[in-house]
Assembly symmetry: C2
Homo-oligomer: 460 residues x 2
């Protein structure tokens, strides 16, 4: 073995380069099985390195099983199957295929207003939290106690929901929580009633457990609850405060009827209260769970009201389910950032959360007024506005002889991104295209410009 | 209706107090259905408030369905079923029952060293990230591109795994990822081979999908792979770099054999490389996925090497699974904090990650040496140390005629918290109790003190 084969470079330690070279020799079969290797001293001298260096290289090879030491006899190569060692990079997959045209205005729902975010306060508290000892461990599987206490207080004050922190489970997203929840429900509840149209993400989560879906039609006037009688499911997923995506709210009679229904058939109502904080014409309606929570699973999140990127959601489980859930998931690690949980708990404790919601309700109310008046100004009777009383988006039914796809593509050509609603429908399809416009991270000027562009795009 | 029933307080707006009082009257049946209400003007005068105030209260009641307006005829109470309105707080559940004795020394695995955490750097980058526009939206369902690119680079350099960022999926925890992964595997793979003893959290995740478990016995010398032939499963979950909890590493021959096995039966190997960064006697072994990744699902995480509380894990899927996975989970929101992902990507890009790992390897190596020498000094032949070559914990087999439970309780009485290993075993039980000692967040002084206390606790 000549020294020249070892062209040492400066990129890694010499012992590592020796180890890698020998590994390659052995894998390629250049040094056959059971062949003796040079002794540590011989190799060190021939390579002009220290004995420690060659010893380290051999030790690594021994530890990984490439060679063996036989005491005074020295080192020998082990048996090794000539395997196909991976040598080609996996070709890039799923690269973006469509050329992405840069949009001037993006009416995307799901972002939040950046300019009014309490950046300094969040930073200050997040930095404090990083100094705590408890930030350096795994968190509680069901969420940090301090945050669950704050959520319980908030739910009582703002949503009328009376609960105990121990009935609250903290998770990272509504869908993740529905998947976990589904695990304890699927045996007793093989099917579920969902709103049609309704939140597609929830349907996906129920299909994860292969639940059968029964569609409850929802119109601008509300859900057609008379259909409940014909349904077999004892489980229903609803958005009572602000139907997603139609925007209608359930009346107290409908709420009572639904609770009666669940009590009678021993079923459960999953109430997704995803953006109840933002109601503009009245104060937020009390939650379904505030009337009678015996058969209501209440879901809430911080994605719309605070920041989607912190991935912080929660659910309140009724008494009959909480122990079952906790037994099932006791040995599962939390899915939610401990740092975000502790920071949010402190922010709520300091009253900053309530201040933020109050401020944002005004901010979003002005934006909603802006988009509604712009749409009326430019489109007059050509569109029907749906769901302007609450939330961070509205729908427009466009009275044209064109498809949803056409409307979206035409808008895109004019630099405006708008969104479909057909993905929310199961059977209860609309006879005219309905477009979704989110506005939470747009200024009123951007909204004005966007609506003008839309008018141009859809004229002709 | 007398004014005296409205004792306005200063806690909430007057319109809200009026609304709530009327709501209560209606719910209790004090005002019967179809009964007329005082006009807005009458009520305003009688309560000495503005008409806007009474109007707001009535509008809220109308919106929620408690009352209806009939034009010039005025307002009337709607039909309402006398429901059981929730009136009692749910009694506290699952409060801590055991009185918790304060431990002097806690040998818990799963925390990280706080004193060497790059606090300033993390804070600086996290604060930068909060100023980015992309931090205010929902993230990519499979994880941020920038982090996936950094992970791909890291895996190639440190673990020998060649991959493309598009084959990487970012999740919040190993268990959450195993649950999602299980969804696309469970139909083709009704059972799975797991190490015995092995990581309990993985078993829980497989049981989520009701997979049958086949136990592969693992000893201090390694797994008994001769048993593979008798097994029916085509799926195996292993920890090749550092068997959890025994600590042994797979030799290259064992790795090759396992890959051959998976290729031959068209199965998959789930390689959990959970703490490979911390190997003290040699450099970290290359991953199984570095030899041949066709049938290897590689899992990694930042919980041991960086911070468990940020909840950041990832998996690399082989080509045959990636599209299936992406189709299944395309419409699922990410479960991981966008802020943590962007911060970690920047930290890795700046080289801080590699520096951190290097530093921590030394820190933990010293702690491992400390605990090993203390155990040898105090216990001599009374305990056998297992797994001292890598990781953030070790096991000790205690040569006494006492149970694991007795050892833990005795230690607890002396102020030391130590941990069981029986939870990791399926059938392959040890004849003598084995105790787990984590040390990552203890100083050498604390370790010394803790081992001294243990010696006292277990003598007599």
């Amino acid at each position: 073995m000549k020294n020249t084969i070892f062209a040492f470079n400066d990129d890694s330690p010499k012992y590592k380069q020796i180890y890698e070279q020998f590994k390659l020799f052995i894998e390629r079969g250049d040094i056959p099985a059971n062949h003796p290797l040079p002794s540590i001293r011989q190799l060190a001298e021939s390579l002009q390195v220290s004995r420690n260096t060659t010893l380290s290289a051999y030790e690594q090879l021994v530890a990984e099983g490439y060679i063996r030491g036989e005491g005074r006899k020295g080192y020998f190569v082990n048996e090794l199957e000539p395997l196909l060692f991976q040598n080609a990079l996996i070709p890039p997959m799923n690269k973006r295929t469509k050329s992405q045209t840069k949009s001037l205005i993006d009416f995307r729902a799901g972002a939040v207003d950046q300019s009014h975010f309490p950046l300094k306060i969040w930073r200050r508290i997040a930095n404090q939290v990083l100094a705590l000892q408890e930030s350096f461990r795994y968190g509680h599987p069901f969420g940090e106690e301090s945050l669950r206490e704050q959520i319980a207080t908030y739910l009582l004050q703002s949503r009328g929901v009376k609960t105990d922190p121990s009935a609250i489970i903290i998770g990272s997203s509504t869908q993740q929580m529905l998947i976990y929840l589904g695990q304890i429900l699927k045996d007793d509840f093989p099917s579920i009633i969902v709103e049609d149209p309704g939140y597609d993400g929830a349907k996906e989560a129920f299909q994860f457990h292969r639940l059968t879906l029964e569609a409850l039609p929802v119109y601008e006037t509300g859900a057609d609850f008379s259909k409940l009688k014909q349904m077999e499911s004892r489980l229903i997923y609803v958005t009572p405060s602000h139907q997603s995506p139609i925007g209608v709210s359930m009346s107290i009679q409908e709420r009572q009827m639904l609770i009666h229904w669940a009590n009678k058939i021993q079923g459960y109502i999953i109430e997704d209260d995803y953006d109840s904080e933002f109601r503009y014409t009245q104060q937020p309606f009390p939650a379904l769970a505030s009337i009678d929570s015996t058969r209501v699973i209440y879901l809430g999140n911080f994605s719309k009201s605070f920041l989607p990127g912190i991935r912080l959601s929660y659910m309140v489980l009724p008494k009959q389910l909480i122990n079952h859930y906790k037994n099932q998931f006791l040995r599962f690690e939390s899915t939610t950032s401990l740092l975000s949980q502790l920071t949010m708990a402190k922010l709520m404790e300091e009253g900053e959360w309530n201040r933020h919601i109050k401020r944002m309700r005004l901010v979003y109310k002005r934006k909603m007024q802006c988009i509604v008046s712009e749409l009326r100004k430019h489109f007059k009777q050509e569109v029907t506005i749906i769901g302007e009383q609450s939330g961070l988006y509205l729908l427009i039914k466009v009275h044209v002889n064109h498809s949803e796809e056409w409307l979206i593509e035409r808008a895109s050509l004019h630099g405006v991104k708008v969104y479909p609603t057909s993905i929310y429908f199961i059977k209860n399809h609309s006879n005219q295209p309905i477009i979704k416009l989110g506005f939470s991270n747009l200024t009123c000027e951007e909204i004005q410009f966007g609506v003008e562009l839309l008018k141009k795009a859809w004229s002709k």
